[in-house]
């Protein structure tokens, strides 16, 4: 049976863990509550670029040392940046907890050397080019801009070639100083973990870090119904995105929202599956929740033959109107509950998934939730709770962004 542990260091660093005695590996990570939404326009992309720079060396280690040392532990390690958070993680065999934490914690105090900064800028520009060849990504960035307008959730995670080229090492250092510190980050672990040892190691490695008070901005969003087509005649397929308001990461309606999204747009057996995939209208169709800090959205997506673009869009809108007007059936809810409950249990068997889940819950809600608590909350979802959800979030106003070779 898993147990939850929490300790707070004198400098305010939260150390949390889910100890899973039957697992054979462990996952550890630092999650920092900073991402693209915390950037101003002239440092667009700095959160993600900084994530790369955290691997480039510290006062004690070069970039090659960090990579070589992780490899010597057989660690599987990486990092990611989103609109909301930046997370650095490693999956390890339990006997390597001490050396793995030593490297990871050291990385959180990076050297940010100018020569490394200049070299890594090339890699970031390459990553931007890579995503310019991915229509799904282009559609995502554009629909976030179209929907969120001047709200910082419209910010691009990678930044642009221009913003990255213009960014200076000093701007990055300033950003680091303002966002990376206890009070704005959490150290989490899951799996085969000795919690007392973890806290002791954290004391030694992180106890000297100065505490930070960071205030994230939560401006209001004013979404309006709009449609925007981006023409790219090089493309062979048409890509459709829809975005409308939904519950946030903190909102208890998120369990009803998860069921609603599954009923409408899961890969198998959902309403969009029957109306778009099964008859061969679209190769991909999906409806899911984007839950952010303080607000959220529902995202619809499809890709299809450009000749079928109008029909696919009409069908997607019809399905959204249908569920808004008539809700979902008992039968649909029961099936979705089973599907989501199974996938929750399956992902709960793996430490890496639990560690990330633990981090997010802490960052957004300052709480632990066991799998059992989540499952109990899921069990409460009913046709009534979905009706209530849809009265708060009526799947409108709808932002529609499309990308394809045609004129609209």
């Amino acid at each position: 049976m898993s147990t939850f542990k929490h300790a707070k260091l004198p400098n305010n660093l939260d150390v949390i863990a889910e100890v899973m005695p039957t697992t054979k590996t462990a996952a550890i990570g630092f999650m920092v509550k900073t991402g693209a939404r915390d950037e101003v326009p002239d440092v667009s992309g700095v959160s993600h670029f900084l994530e790369h720079m955290m691997f480039k060396g510290t006062a004690r280690r070069t970039a090659a040392d960090i990579n070589r040392e992780f490899d010597s532990l057989g660690a599987r390690n990486n990092a990611f940046t989103s609109n909301e958070v930046t997370c650095y993680w490693a999956q390890i065999l339990p006997e390597y907890l001490a050396p793995a934490l030593d490297i990871l914690a050291d990385m959180m105090r990076p050297a940010l050397r100018v020569e490394d900064f200049d070299m890594e800028k090339n890699v970031i520009l390459e990553e931007i080019s890579l995503y310019l060849d991915k229509p799904g990504h282009i559609l995502y960035e554009r629909i976030m801009e179209d929907h969120f307008g001047s709200h910082p959730l419209a910010n691009s995670i990678l930044g642009s070639k221009e913003s990255i080229t213009a960014l200076t090492q000093q701007q990055m250092r300033d950003y680091f100083d303002r966002h990376y510190g206890p009070g704005n980050m959490v150290l989490a672990a899951a799996g085969q973990i000795d919690f007392d040892e973890l806290v002791e190691l954290a004391h030694r490695a992180c106890g000297q870090w100065p505490s930070l008070a960071v205030q994230r901005r939560y401006p209001a969003v004013a979404p309006a119904a709009r449609r925007h087509h981006i023409r790219d005649e090089k493309l062979k397929r048409h890509y459709l995105g829809t975005l409308c308001p939904g519950p946030s990461s903190q909102d208890m309606d998120r369990f009803s929202a998860a069921i609603l999204a599954d009923v409408v747009g899961d890969h198998d057996g959902s309403r969009l599956f029957w109306s778009l995939i099964e008859p061969g209208l679209a190769e991909e169709a999906d409806f899911s929740t984007f839950m952010h800090d303080g607000l959220g959205s529902f995202f619809g997506y499809a890709s299809c033959d450009p000749a079928k673009a109008a029909l696919v869009e009409e069908t997607m809108i019809k399905e959204l109107s249908h569920v808004r007007d008539d809700g979902v059936t008992e039968d649909e809810i029961a099936r979705s509950k089973t599907k989501i409950a199974t996938s929750t249990v399956l992902s709960g068997e793996l430490p890496l998934g639990r560690m990330r889940n633990l981090c997010s819950q802490w960052i957004y809600n300052r709480e632990f939730r066991t799998l059992e608590e989540d499952l109990a909350e899921l069990e409460k979802v009913s046709t009534q709770s979905i009706k209530l959800l849809l009265s708060k979030y009526p799947l409108s106003p709808l932002t529609i962004t499309t990308l394809g070779p045609g004129d609209n």
Partner: protein, 414 residues
Amino acid sequence: MNQTAPMMRVDRLENGLTLVMEHMPDVQSAAMVLAIMGGASFDPEHGVGSGNVLSDWILRGAGDRDSRALTAALDSLGVQRSCGVDTVFLRFSASMLAKKLPEVMPLVADIFQRAQLPDDAFNACRDLAVGQIDAIEDEPAQKLNILLRQQHLPSPWGRPTLGVKEHLTALSAADLRLDYRRRFTPDGAILSIAGRISFDQMHDLAEKCFGSWTGPKAAMAAPGPAPGGSRHVHQETNQVQIGLAFDAVPEREPESILAMLAVNVLSGGMGARLFSEIREKQGLCYAVHAGYQSLRTQGMILGYAGTVPERAQRTLDSFIHELKKIRDGISADELERARIGIKSRVVMNGESSSARAGALLHDMYHLGRPRSLDELRRRVEAPTLTDVNDYLCAHPVERFTLLTIGPAELTTPN
């Protein structure tokens, strides 16, 4: 750490179906894969991609359930599933709570033995497959992978598993129904199950669900030569896609562990040579990696890099330089890092029932028997530095296949 050997068992049914099982006492889940010898290399000569269409069509109703009833039955049991083809197999994979497996297996048996293959779903399945082929044009990195295999491997191994558009548009429902009967047979099929299971219960279940299934092995398409050499495909992409392939010993040869260790030195973790030399030191690209893959009779190493046109030639030159340089040998430190890297992946994958079900199938195909986590660990520990370096010296990278996609052709430094 307590590392008792996981419990495994292999049973063979009279009709030729092999059942391979692993009991994992620490999980609540179970995963199964049913794989028939019916992947792309079993597609008819002028029907390449028909297996891909079948892998969708068989889900559109089976036994006495139509498409909706079948989907509802699987969903009600919470089954996470996928069905698709690779070069060798057509496979249905499913993960679930272990206690649901006895109810899931009869549904899978219906799909493989009694698919309804309704007329009205045929066009939709074919259109979706054609759409997938068109969509590859918008994903240059995926396109590279398909074209590189086609260029490097002999036919039918190099066939695109999604299919050939012209073949699919000419396909009829009647042809494909005959193909279902030809291809969906138990002889050579493998049913792999891992998780919290009882062997005897699984055996009885498999016997009940699949015991009366009959039919001979389907014939594989006739082999042809591998094109090999260099090929450039012009496309106005932002990044040039670079793919390299060269031969290695197949996995069933004991020496394959030496090739795997060497590939890990090139591209295991972030400290490995390709990442460190090409990305970290020179900043030439974001993605650069290489990996070992094997068919039953041929192993190969596939390399990938993506970079803007201005840096593409330097990236290719550096990539080939690193591949050639490894014949000079690796260091003891590099070997140790590669060893611990592979060993810890073995433990990490050992926690997931779906990863284990996939690994059991893989072992049965390549070696004819499953390997325990302990055996996999011992295999990585055995070779000495001299063993690896002797292998590298005896198998230098001299001939390779090069495939590039992008606005301009590169020069091959041969």
